[in-house]
């Protein structure tokens, strides 16, 4: 006695095979009577009580659909065989293989009645074409209906670009240079050993300004104006400006250091808890 699961599996495989066979009959113009409809129906009936899942019911429906297509083909096949056009394809194929070129040509010419068609200009159509040409308005008049939008070009001012947020108030490189000078000044004033605590440099009056300064600092490091010194055990982070920007920084393997600048950190810095 087969288990229920095994029986379902076998049923699915059988339906799948039936679908494939029906498909190949349809697609490859095979004899549709190769399919034993009664046998397939008995298989479908046999396994129908096993189907509970929607996928299995869909498979069952597809099998019936494919079988219906084959039955339709069988009906067409019978109709075709009963017409006067029917000839045994094997007999005809045999003939086609054995027949000589000249002979098939002779046969074809007896059954071929080519269409008579002329592609010649007539005096009437020429006269019509001339009349059309004479009545045709020049392009500049016809295209008046679709006026093209006119665009004026002129130089944009720096103020306009700043207004459209294409440029910042200051050029970025200029801003970065100033920021670097500020870092060097702050290191001289408040720093030790040519460096300053990261938060002491980026920290500002408001959180927004602090974030902006952290953003600018990241560019100072990336573009070789400064470097970061990280002491993970002490959880200390310093920024150290270079005297001159390092230009070969792109040639070295760069590492990304994520530094969180949260509002909580900023508040702690304000309260002096970060030192």
């Amino acid at each position: 006695m087969q288990s229920k699961r095994k029986r379902v599996k076998i049923g699915r495989e059988k339906l799948q095979r039936i679908i494939e066979t029906c498909k190949s009959v349809e697609e490859r113009s095979l004899d549709p009577f190769l399919i034993d409809v009664d046998e397939i129906i008995s298989v479908i009936k046999e396994y129908f009580p096993e189907w509970n899942l929607p996928e299995d019911l869909c498979l069952d429906a597809e099998t019936i659909h494919r079988l219906a297509s084959v039955i339709k083909l069988q009906s067409e096949w019978v109709k075709h065989r009963s017409t006067s056009l029917y000839t045994d394809p094997f007999l005809l194929e045999e003939k086609l293989i054995r027949i000589e070129k000249e002979e098939i040509l002779g046969v074809f010419l007896k059954a071929w009645h080519p269409i008579v068609e002329l592609e010649q200009i007539s005096l009437h159509s020429l006269a019509g074409a001339i009349r059309y040409w004479e009545g045709l308005l020049p392009l500049k008049e016809r295209w008046k209906e679709f006026p093209q939008a006119e665009f004026e070009t002129s130089l944009a001012t720096r103020e306009e670009l700043i207004k459209q947020r294409i440029l910042l108030d200051k050029a970025f490189s200029e801003e970065l240079e100033n920021f670097w000078q500020e870092l060097k000044k702050r290191v001289k004033e408040k720093g030790e050993n040519g460096k300053i605590r990261y938060w002491d440099f980026i920290g500002a009056e408001t959180y927004e300004k602090t974030v902006h300064r952290a953003f600018m600092t990241s560019f100072l490091v990336t573009y070789g104006y400064a470097t970061l010194e990280i002491y993970p055990l002490e959880e200390e982070l310093f920024i150290k400006p270079y005297e001159k920007p390092i230009t070969n920084i792109g040639k070295k393997q760069l590492v990304s250091i994520p530094i969180a600048v949260t509002a909580e950190d900023w508040l702690r810095w304000k309260r002096g808890e970060l030192e």
Binding site: K95, L96, L105, V107, K110, A111
Partner: protein, 193 residues
């Protein structure tokens, strides 16, 4: 008596002018495909255009030409309705046969025409649909390999065949208009090989 003669004369003149118009429409190509749709003829010739075409067909008999009607769908219609006629396409075709020498005059090489005949016959034998690969294999037996695919493309371009996305070949509008499929198969089967 005189009155009757005048009436007959004016009817003759009426149909003579209609026949001229129909000849222009049918012989000169107006669209990408040759032939004229029934509704176009009705518009140009009036609702009695089937009668005009019948008279024209009689005229053309002497010239070995005929007016051929191809209905929508694959099968010919015995007693067409006016709606079926409106949707049908009308052509002027050769009524009789061409001799083997004449085929050169209409721009076909013997190889290409024989290949077309084989292809059409094979597709008919396969109930109007055959895989392109099978047709190519059949043609390769008698035609150089490089020519086979080019020829099939040419038959498709001319409208003798059409091809679907699965590379299945079918007979197209020009075969239906120009080839007497039953005669072709009968002649082929009775040919002595």
């Amino acid at each position: 008596m005189e009155k009757r003669r005048t009436r007959v004369g004016s009817r003759k003149a009426y149909y003579a002018s209609k026949i001229k118009r129909a000849t222009h429409l049918l012989f000169y190509r107006r669209h990408r495909k040759p032939g004229v749709k029934g509704w176009e003829l009705r518009k140009a010739l009036g609702s009695d255009y089937p009668k005009v075409l019948k008279i024209l067909d009689n005229y053309l008999k002497a010239l070995d030409l005929q007016v051929k009607t191809i209905f929508e769908g694959e099968k010919p219609v015995e007693k067409p309705t006016s709606e079926q006629l409106d949707k049908a396409r009308f052509y002027v075709t050769l009524r009789g046969e061409l001799t083997p020498k004449e085929n050169k005059m209409i721009g076909w090489r013997i190889d290409d025409l024989a290949g077309l005949a084989i292809t059409i016959a094979y597709i008919i034998s396969k109930k109007g649909k055959a895989p392109r690969k099978e047709v190519e294999e059949l043609l390769r037996d008698k035609l150089p390999g490089w020519k086979v695919s080019l020829n099939i493309d040419r038959y498709i371009r001319y409208g003798y065949l059409t091809q679907d996305e699965n590379e299945q070949l079918y007979l197209d509008w020009r075969t239906r208009a120009e080839v007497d499929q039953k005669a072709l198969i009968d002649l082929l089967l009775s040919a002595e090989t």
